[in-house]
C-alpha cells in the first residue's frame, strides 16, 4: 500500500450559468496521506466546498460540471467511475459530514434506522445486525443510552447530538477518507470542543484520513496536520500547520491570520484586508488577490502566478516568492 490516499490533480469544476461560466474550482492540486488530517481553508465562495463535493462526485449537473483534472483515490481515477461504482464508494470508503446536521438527516426515519441503512447496503448485514452495529456506533460517539436514542427521530435531538449521529453514520463502514464540511460551524463553542475532540479520537481509533473544510483558522490550528488555503477557486498556499502559522507566505494567508481577534492579546485595532472578494465571473487578469494585496507589484496585476514549491512540502502561488522564500 502506498502512503498517498488521495491525489487531486488540476481539478476544474465550472458552473455554466446564464450570466457566464463560473470557475468555482479552477486548477486545484493537492494530495492526502493515509491517516492524515488536511484542512482546506477559505472564505465563502473560495471553492472549498465545491472541491469536496467534486471528490464525492456530487456536483449538481446542470449547471455544474467537472471539466478537467483527475481525482486519484488509491490510484484509481474517481472521475472515470460509473455512477454505480461511485455509489459503492460513497458512504463506504469515502464519507462526508455536512455543516447542517438539521437538514442532512431524514426527518421521517429513526436515527438508528438511518445509520443501519448504509450498513445494510454496503456490508450486506441483515436488519437486526445492522441495528445492533448502529447502536454500537452511537455508543462510540458518546451518545448516552444509545439503545433508547437509536429509536429517536432527528427532531428529538439537539444540534450536537445530531452531529454525533452524522459522525456515527459517516464512520460506520470504517471509511478510509472522511470529508467534513464545516462540521462545527453551526454549533456552540462548548459543543464544538466536544465534537472536534470526538473526531480526533475516532480518527486515531479507526485510522481514517480527514479532509476538514473550514473558514476558521482556530479550528485548523486545533486539528490539522497540513493545510491548503484557497482563494477564488485556486490554491494560494499549502503548508504543514506549524509552518503555516509561524511563517505564512502568501499575503492573503498573512492577512487572514492577522485579522482574527486574539483572545490573549489586547490590540486596539484589528488588521483589515481591504476590499472584497471579486466576483468569480469577473476575475482580474493577474493574481486574483492583487486588488486587495498590500504588497502587490505591477506584475501581479497583469500576470497570474502559479503554485510553486518553495521548500519541501510548502507551495505558494505568489510572485513575491518566485525566487524561493524571501
Amino acid at each position: 500500500m502506498t502512503q498517498t490516499l488521495l491525489q487531486v490533480k488540476d481539478l476544474k469544476t465550472h458552473f455554466f450559468l446564464e450570466d457566464g461560466v463560473v470557475p468555482a474550482v479552477d486548477g486545484v492540486s493537492f494530495h492526502l496521506n493515509r491517516g492524515e488530517t488536511l484542512a482546506v481553508v477559505g472564505e465563502s465562495g473560495s471553492g472549498k466546498s465545491i472541491t469536496a463535493t467534486s471528490i464525492m462526485r456530487l456536483i449538481p449537473n446542470p449547471p455544474g460540471r467537472i471539466v478537467g483534472g483527475e481525482i486519484l483515490f488509491n490510484g484509481e481515477d474517481l472521475l472515470k467511475k460509473t455512477e454505480k461504482e461511485m455509489r459503492a464508494i460513497r458512504g463506504n470508503r469515502i464519507s462526508m459530514i455536512f455543516q447542517e446536521p438539521m437538514t442532512s438527516l431524514n426527518p421521517v426515519f429513526r436515527v438508528g434506522h438511518q445509520i443501519a441503512e448504509s450498513l445494510m447496503v454496503h456490508q450486506g448485514l441483515n436488519k437486526q445486525e445492522a441495528l445492533e452495529k448502529s447502536i454500537e456506533m452511537l455508543r462510540l460517539t458518546g451518545i448516552p443510552s444509545p439503545e433508547k436514542r437509536a429509536h429517536d427521530f432527528p427532531h428529538q435531538m439537539s444540534g450536537g447530538m445530531r452531529q454525533r449521529v452524522m459522525i456515527a453514520m459517516a464512520l460506520c463502514c470504517r471509511p478510509e477518507l472522511l470529508i467534513a464540511d464545516e462540521p462545527t460551524t453551526a454549533l456552540d463553542v462548548t459543543i464544538q470542543a466536544q465534537i472536534l475532540d470526538l473526531m480526533l479520537e475516532l480518527k486515531e481509533q479507526l485510522g481514517t484520513a480527514i479532509i476538514m473544510i473550514t473558514h476558521d483558522l482556530a479550528v485548523v490550528a486545533e486539528v490539522a496536520d497540513r493545510a491548503v488555503v484557497m482563494y477564488c477557486g485556486k490554491l494560494v498556499e499549502e503548508a504543514p500547520v506549524l509552518e503555516l502559522f509561524d511563517n505564512p507566505l502568501h499575503p492573503y494567508t498573512r492577512g487572514l491570520l492577522k485579522s482574527i481577534p486574539h483572545i490573549n492579546d489586547n490590540q486596539e485595532r484589528l488588521y483589515m484586508i481591504e476590499g472584497m472578494v471579486p466576483a468569480l465571473t469577473n476575475l482580474p487578469p493577474g493574481c486574483s488577490f492583487a486588488p486587495r494585496c498590500p504588497e502587490a507589484r505591477p506584475r501581479c496585476h497583469v500576470e497570474r502566478p502559479s503554485l510553486k514549491e518553495v521548500s519541501p512540502g510548502r507551495r505558494v502561488s505568489c510572485w513575491l516568492h518566485e525566487g524561493g522564500v524571501r
Binding site: E43, S158, V189, T190, A193, D197, I263, M272, M276, V277
Partner: protein, 326 residues
C-alpha cells in the same frame, strides 16, 4: 462614568400554548431576573450559548418585547412605563443592528430610502438636506454616495451590514444594541466591520450592548463582559479581569473551549459533558449544576445569588462564596 441604562430584575417568560383554546401548558424562561448597568460610552458584551437569552435581553431593553417583570431605566426614565408618545421619543436614542443583513433590509427599497426613512419619520431634516445627511452617513460607514441609488441585493454581506449600521446611526442614537453583527460575515470582512464599529463609537460617543457567541470577538470589542447561562447572568466583570481571573465554572469552561489560532498553544480543555438543559424546565438550584465539574450538594438545592466579590466583579456561584468566607 455615569450609568446610561439601569436594568433591574428583568424577566421574560414566553408561554407555550396548546390546543384550540390556547391553554398555557408551560413557560420558556428565556430571561430570568437580570440586574446590571450599562455605562455611558462603554461597550458591554453579552456572551452565552444559543438559547441563553442574550438576544431576548437586547430586545427587552429596547422594548421590542414586553417583559414579564422587571425594570429598565434609560437615563432615569422607566422604559416600560413610557406612553406611546414618550416611547417614540425614546426610540430615537436606542437603535439596533441585527445579525442577518440579508433579512433586515427591505429588498424593495433603495439603500438611500432605507437610511432616509428614520430621518423623515422623525423630521430631522427636509428637502435636499435629507439627501446630504444620507450621503454623510454612507461615507461614515465607508460606502460611496452612488450606493444610495442601489438596492440591497446588489451588495455583499459586509456592505449590507454597513447599510444596517448607517440606518442605526441616522437618528444620532445614544445606545446601539448590536445583536451578533459579525456572526454571518467572513473573517476578512468581520475585522472591517469590527474596526468600523469601534471608530464610530469614538466619533459619535456611542454606547454599545454587544451580543455575540464568539468569545474572541466579544473580548476584542468590550470593556465589560456579562456571561449568561439559561436566562441568568452568571458572571460580570471587566474584559481583562474576566479572561485572566474567571470565577464561575461555566466561564472557565467557556473560555477553555474557545479554539485558539495557534497550533502550539497549550490546551487544557475543560470539556463540558452533555447539552444545555431546556429553558422550559431548568434544573433546580444552580442552573449549571447538571454540567458543572465541581458541583456540590448545595448547588442542587439552593440557587446562588448574583453577588459582588470584588470591585466590578460579580458572580453567582456557591463555591466562590465559600472560598471568600475562608
Amino acid at each position: 462614568m455615569s450609568v446610561l441604562v439601569h436594568v433591574t430584575n428583568l424577566t421574560k417568560y414566553f408561554s407555550i400554548r396548546k390546543g384550540i383554546f390556547g391553554k398555557e401548558v408551560g413557560q420558556v424562561k428565556a430571561v430570568d431576573g437580570l440586574t446590571f448597568d450599562i455605562r455611558k460610552g462603554e461597550t458591554l458584551g453579552l456572551v452565552g450559548e444559543s438559547g441563553c437569552g442574550k438576544s431576548t435581553t437586547g430586545r427587552l431593553i429596547l422594548r421590542l418585547l414586553e417583559p414579564t417583570a422587571g425594570r429598565v431605566e434609560f437615563e432615569g426614565k422607566d422604559v416600560f412605563k413610557a406612553t406611546p408618545g414618550e416611547m417614540r421619543a425614546l426610540r430615537k436614542d436606542m437603535q439596533i443592528i441585527f445579525q442577518d443583513p440579508y433579512a433586515s433590509l427591505n429588498p424593495r427599497m433603495s439603500v438611500g430610502d432605507i437610511i432616509a426613512e428614520p430621518i423623515k419619520l422623525y423630521k430631522l431634516a427636509s428637502g435636499p438636506e435629507i439627501q446630504k445627511r444620507v450621503e454623510h452617513l454612507l461615507s461614515c460607514v465607508g460606502l460611496a454616495s452612488y450606493h444610495a441609488r442601489r438596492y440591497p441585493h446588489e451588495f455583499s454581506g459586509g456592505q449590507r451590514q454597513r447599510v444596517g449600521i448607517a440606518r442605526a446611526l441616522a437618528l444620532n442614537p445614544k445606545l446601539i444594541v448590536c445583536d451578533e453583527p459579525v456572526s454571518a460575515l467572513d473573517v476578512s470582512i468581520q475585522s472591517q466591520v469590527l474596526n468600523l464599529l469601534k471608530d464610530l463609537q469614538q466619533e459619535f460617543g456611542l454606547t454599545y450592548l454587544f451580543i455575540a457567541h464568539g468569545l474572541n470577538v466579544v473580548k476584542h470589542v468590550s470593556d465589560r463582559i456579562g456571561v449568561m447561562y439559561l436566562g441568568k447572568m452568571v458572571e460580570l466583570a471587566g474584559d481583562d479581569e474576566l479572561y485572566n481571573n474567571p470565577l464561575h465554572p461555566y466561564t472557565k469552561a467557556l473560555l477553555s473551549a474557545v479554539p485558539i489560532p495557534d497550533p502550539r498553544a497549550k490546551k487544557q480543555r475543560i470539556i463540558l459533558t452533555g447539552d444545555v438543559p431546556s429553558p422550559v424546565n431548568p434544573p433546580r438550584g444552580c442552573r449549571f449544576h447538571t454540567r458543572c465539574f465541581c458541583s456540590q450538594d448545595i448547588c442542587k438545592h439552593h440557587e446562588p445569588v448574583f453577588k459582588r466579590v470584588k470591585p466590578g466583579h460579580w458572580v453567582a456561584c456557591h463555591l466562590v462564596e465559600e472560598e471568600n468566607k475562608k
